[in-house]
């Protein structure tokens, strides 16, 4: 089980701020997780396709597509940051 969190534009488009997900056996990195979520279609497919930039963090550290994920991780997707 992993915890997924969505922020800002993604949270609004996907209609959810967070969810618990059981990782299928084949999904071992962020690229794999993103493909799994895009397969839901609709906003999931369009928001995560990369036409608009999406960033991700694993356990509160910025992460790349190749970053490994495993049970118990907290994984967040969000647009580029705009604070300060």
């Amino acid at each position: 089980m992993v915890t997924l969190i969505y922020f800002a534009r993604l949270r609004e488009s996907l209609g959810t701020g967070s969810e618990q997900l059981v990782l299928p056996a084949g999904v071992r990195d962020l690229n794999g997780l993103r493909a799994l979520l895009m397969a839901r279609g609709g906003a999931w497919a369009s928001e995560l396709a990369g036409n608009t930039p999406v960033r991700a963090a694993v356990n509160q550290d910025m992460a790349q597509g190749e970053t490994k994920i495993s049970d118990g991780d907290e994984i967040a997707f969000f647009p580029p940051v705009t604070g300060g």
Binding site: F7, A8, A57, Q60, T82, G83, G84
Partner: protein, 152 residues
């Protein structure tokens, strides 16, 4: 704790005083205050909502502060960042740096702001006459952050 995320306003003068309190070797303090403007990207901004990623925000800023301390000869850094509902002329962010000499204090303060702008998980949503919109990240902020990249 050198990082505070809060909805309340802050008092820059008090934070400056408290950062250097008890350290008579401090000769220079620099401070940056970011403020909500009434115009952004050509639209009037009525107010805004600042969202953040609790936990990661504090961690990301603490890491930026540690990096500043390893690169410049500075004593302390304090960052206060507001979240929630803000309107034009409201203070958003405060960075304060103390050091013995001014050169280090200026550079470290600007570094912290440039990195915060590109690495700390905050998102602004503005209310404009044309409706609400999520603020887009700026290429100029990436350029500002890239200036500090170190040669190996």
């Amino acid at each position: 704790m050198p990082v505070r995320i809060q909805s309340e306003d802050f008092d820059a003068g008090r934070e400056i005083a408290s950062l250097r309190a008890g350290n008579a070797q401090v000769g220079a303090v620099t401070a940056f205050v970011g403020v909500v403007r009434d115009m952004n990207d050509g639209s009037v901004v009525a107010d805004m909502e600042l969202e953040h990623y609790p936990g990661m925000t504090e961690k990301a800023i603490a890491e930026i502060i540690e990096q500043a301390k390893s690169r410049w000869n500075i004593f302390d850094v304090m960052v206060v960042h507001r979240v929630g509902h803000l309107k034009p002329t409201d203070q958003i962010v405060l960075v304060v740096v103390s050091s013995a000499h001014r050169g280090d204090a200026f550079e470290a303060c600007e570094f912290v702001m440039d990195y915060l702008k590109t690495r700390a998980p905050f998102w602004k949503k503005e209310q404009t006459p044309h409706g609400a919109r999520w603020v887009e990240s700026r290429a100029s902020d990436d350029v500002a952050a890239a200036r500090w990249r170190q040669k190996d």
